[in-house]
Symmetry: C5
Subunit: 359 residues, 5 copies
């Protein structure tokens, strides 16, 4: 994926007035808006179809989670922005899917950009998810439908854990934590692939391996680009800067921050391992090839003097003209003697090379 995804234009044309909304490029997913409104003993979950339906939820004291999938319905988003009084720049960032993860404090509400990860047959897929958090709601927006939040939805429905007791800041934590948790199986898979390649690289170094290591390094680079700013975001949420986060939730965010550090730690380690692997691959491949070349050269070198001997006795000096001209040709044991000399020469050379440890 990586570069593939980058191919889509993810910026507005230079000079555009800031805050102009423009649907993202790529296939348009249909708009789907789910509302969950809950308190300690209250739970409403329904799909809505127009901005107006959202109005009653805006100022209720219960926690409201509005999940928006599909970002091509610009009028809806403008309505949403007007209803909740969002800054146009924040809305613009929701649509601009190449944002870095970040946290912005707009006073009444916080605006977050995070990423959701998945692996589809070892292809890394990264989607952008935007959050608005105020004192009584969380709004999440994403282009591509995904199920990153399904487990959180289940916990709300079943009232498991703390989630029904605490406010929208805890809900935000739960959602962000769900996104951080997605890193672990993905990284685990990269760890496995690196490990699988560790054997390959020594035993059967193949050009595909090179390609695969390069691909892993590129993906890890991509993950690194995401994880560092996500750590910053969670760190800011956990500290006093984010005034909408309650003290109770901060303990949980500290835990989530720990996960982020662990993720970064794993990414850096895997990057180091992949680089080490590349070095081993390169020297192992060149080793193997050189061994082959050496054996071939040794074979040639052993035969060269033998060929020379054969060449000498293939010369046509006139034995009639002089007794000094190649008398060996007339000896009784001439031919066997020469064959023996050849065998000894070849054997001696082979032995010598062997002794020297050359093969």
């Amino acid at each position: 994926m990586a570069l593939q995804g980058r191919r889509m234009k993810r910026y507005h044309p230079p000079g555009t007035s800031p805050g102009t909304l423009r649907a993202p490029e790529g296939p348009a997913y249909p708009l789907r808006v789910m509302v969950i409104d809950y308190g300690l003993d209250r739970l409403i979950e329904k799909e809505i179809h127009s901005v107006e339906e959202l109005e009653p939820y805006r100022d209720t004291p219960t926690v409201t989670w509005i999940n928006v999938e599909g970002l091509h319905d610009i009028p809806f988003l403008e309505g949403l922005g007007k209803l909740f009084k969002f800054h146009p720049l924040a809305l613009e960032d929701v649509l601009n899917c190449g944002q870095r993860p970040k946290l912005e404090d707009y006073g009444d509400y916080h605006f977050l950009v995070m990423k959701s990860l998945s692996l589809d047959q070892d292809e890394l897929e990264i989607e952008q998810i935007s959050f608005f958090l105020s004192g009584n709601y969380v709004i999440t927006l994403q282009e591509v439908p995904g199920d990153s939040f399904e487990a959180v939805r289940q916990r709300i429905r079943q009232g498991k854990g703390q989630i029904r007791k605490l406010g929208p800041d805890y809900l935000l934590y739960a959602l962000v934590d769900a996104l951080m948790d997605e890193f672990f199986p993905v990284l685990e898979r990269y760890g496995e692939r690196i490990e699988e390649m560790e054997d390959k690289v020594i035993l059967r170094p193949a050009p595909e391996t090179l390609n695969e290591i390069h691909g892993i390094k590129r993906d890890l680079l991509e993950l690194r680009r995401i994880s560092w700013p996500e750590r910053e975001v969670i760190g800011s949420l956990q500290r006093d800067e984010a005034h909408l986060i309650q003290a109770d939730t901060r303990v949980y965010l500290r835990d989530c921050y720990d996960h982020a550090i662990q993720v970064i730690d794993m990414i850096e380690t895997y990057r180091d391992l992949a680089t080490g692997l590349l070095d081993v691959y390169l020297s192992s491949a060149s080793n193997r090839l050189n061994e082959v070349m050496k054996v071939l050269t040794i074979i040639s070198t052993i035969f060269i003097p033998l060929n020379f001997i054969a060449g000498v006795y293939g010369m046509n000096f006139d034995r009639q003209a002089s007794p000094l001209n190649m008398p060996e040709l007339g000896w009784y044991f001439g031919y066997p003697a020469v064959l023996t000399v050849m065998a000894i020469t070849g054997g001696a050379l082979a032995l010598y090379f062997k002794r020297k440890g050359w093969f």
Copy 2:
């Protein structure tokens, strides 16, 4: 470009008195001064030809934008400096086109140096643009005529967005943001070129590829040198340090600062990718070559023993002199037998090498 541009002398002779104005080297573009003076319901746009014409705009409460193209008319610049009371060091920096992007606070006005980017057939072109910002005007100066600001000019003319409602600090933001926005299509192009080369590098590694990767790395290095200080400049504008920036504009500058970080992020990623590409290129090129050498060497090695056999039976031992001398030559099936032995030897060697996975 890169080095090309650096070839022009971009410094004054050592020991020159500070604040001495000296026209930049290179071709002289004619002076062209455009004034746009606007308020909520007022818009004057005209070209002026002498410093005196500028005087009425200096102290009016409306926003005045003076855009100067061409920096070879030293008397005009001295007049401008005198009229607006600019420090001689600031004016000197306007002419010295090798400045790093920077923000300097001279009390009554801020002085900024930024860069404008464009690609001309994959050639990176970088021009310097200087800004003076006071409470009621923005002055922009650049050597080479360019259209980086055309979109902003349109927005002023059409009264789109906030621009007509807010002061010169917002205008400055809009202009700086236009410059930051120029990075995206440029970087996009580098991303595309890297991607195109990813396939080439594996399938058809050619020396030109090496050259092109080197060129991309050099350009990215150049972009990096610009983007880091530009980020600092925007960061300073956004914080309290820049006292001429209003609170309303700071939110927009925060957005612009985000873009700067994103630009740096992309540059660093592309640099990493280009370096990775170089590694893949090098090992892929050496792989291909080594494969060729191996095949050639294997061909030679197979023929070497065959040549030896032929050589042996080319020897001239005197079969008359002794029955031991090359009796094979007189055998009925001698020649076919030797050909068979040769075929078997060659085939066996080829099979052996194949088995060993050597080709």
Copy 3:
């Protein structure tokens, strides 16, 4: 080990409610709980089998050390958490054996994660050890039974040193220091292995060496990942942040912090040495191979002209047809002369190559 250990899933499924306890993967070691309760002139040491037995120790003024081995008995751990009022997130971290070393302050108690090291036939083994420290107890928890703390236990029993006079903070120091001390013999062994390889790498570079250096580098990377956060943990304990640590103990922790810095220093040095070794190996291996290839090529090159001479006099030009056709074949000293020419040619070439310093 390294990757092997990483293969175990060390994370809970994405979206799990925070604070859910889940037994670690891998073989289940049986639960074993040892309590040592001591003061200046009091020492009770016994094994206990249920959480209830621990209750009397919770609030006594004496120092209580509870050591738990085996983490598969979830009900016991839940009971422990309830009895000592531990935060569920801390307990979850005890079971999640892929934690980075860390110190968390929960007000009444501190929670630490550290690692224990050992080498089993040059295989690095890393186990996680969790600590809870309050004003009157230290609780240590680990999955795999180990004897990292045996020496401390002895010192308590024998009342040697300060340990019986000071509080649980000193006990924590002693335990953490014991873990830091484990680094030294382990690193010493890596130092020895690097040293052993230094000779090998010059004299007998073998592919196994490459593999071993790669393994050492991987292990050092792993140790580095542990030692940096452990240094941070000890640094935090030593500073005012950790309010449960007494001033007297801080001097000892400063010493322990010194050890941590020394450990990091050694790791970085060994990493540098291992990288240097890799470079030497690679160039030494390629040197040796190239020397071999050169000698072989020189042998071939010396024989090539000799073969040519032999080939010339193997031509069948008809001496009858013309006195110019190979008259040498009929000369009296033809054959000896040609042999001499060959010897001189070969000798001259060998001498020339020798002179040039080519072998």
Copy 4:
């Protein structure tokens, strides 16, 4: 130069009492002391020959610039130190020509160490220049006579710019700025050399190129070692730390600081370019060589089977003994047929290799 210069012992013997004056090693330049004493409408310039002549200038309110060339006259320097009450450690540093650039505040006066640069036929030459600045004088000391300050001297004489109006702190700025300005033509030259080599490296990689790149890298390393501490020195002068600098001069020093950053920026860029060049050189050189080897090997490989065919028909099987023994030798078209077979084989191989893109 670099290492050459380092060969001179630039340290006093270990254990020497601090503050002991000792003439620098190397050739002794004769002492030459020039005094310029000036105010707004006063200018005295004369050479003096003894310390006593300097006394009248010490406490006058006019600005006095004492320039000392040649540092082998120890008694003079001791007299100077006594007259102006300099700390012995500062005087020792003046003589120790291996100092890093630095700024030291001795209360009544500041002591600076800076470096002067020049290129003599692409040989980098670096000299040390020491400064003492008090409220009414600047003293500069250097071993080797040089003309780094000639332009400043001219400006004083001609009363150009601000220099005659402002105090010794502005004089110090002017001198330091003159030294910073020396970097630009020097770096420009390195830029040119790198650029020249960029073409060479692709078209005609030669071992000398390698040597030259190495030399450039070494020089840039040397320049880097100087420029970083010089930036610090100027930064300290510009901030409040240097209490002898007036507010008016600080604006100028900010400009000078900008130059220092620009210098560092250029050095780092050139270092990156030189490193990139080295990579391109290495792969381009190995590319060229490998291409040569490939062509040579292909030629050999094409002839190997032809030689084999010739060898076969050079065998001496007895055609009398059997009709199966080399009947081809008796065929009417035998010889032309074999030549044709050879031509076809050779051509086919050449074509095959060509098709495969091997040459």
Copy 5:
């Protein structure tokens, strides 16, 4: 040395009670204790043999310097610790010769660990020296007898410089400065060796060179490990942290701190140079070898077609059987013609290769 020295176990067994004294490994040097007690007009210098003899010096207002060589007499050290009330952890560090340089403030006294350097035939030797500084004494302890402090001793005896006028803090400075000064001749030697190798590496690259560069890099790595913490130690002494240091001495320590920075600077530069040298060596060695291989291959390639021609005319086609069979063999100028063709072919090939710049 480096690794050699590291082979000695330099740590106490894991879990040992902190503050346990244990003689260092390696050969035991005999204990030798020298006391120098001095004031402005007082100087006592004598060797003492028991701890009791030291008691009178403990509280006198004069400056006392106790120098202890040989650390195997544990009872003496314990007595010393008791007499001067040293913390057991400090004493333990005195014996543990693998400490990093450090400064510890124990209130009444400061404890320092530093290193002494020497070169024995280009073998780097590093010894640990510990210091205790209080208001009226300095105690130095070292395992191996050395003469690092001889020059300081001379200065005390002769009353040269400030040393007799100032307190124990100045003495400490003088001793530490003597240790810093030892770096310069040692580094100078490394500089010389690098320089010597610069020529060798281009002209006569030999495998020993590789080995020597590797050795230099390892030693510089070792020096770096020492110099960084020593700089920190001196920096701490110079700042207010070290309350036993008088203001007068701080100026001298600033000078010493400068030396430390200069040392680090030289080490880093030499490391860079050594790395650059390694690169040059590697490419120069591979260059030379490749040149050899190229020449050899060219020789072979020139002879290959000649051999082919000779082979053709060595074929035995029956000229009787057909006029087309090798009629050249019967030509009058057959043999000379073939020799000429051979000479022309060989010459043309050689010329072609030469033209192409292949040799």
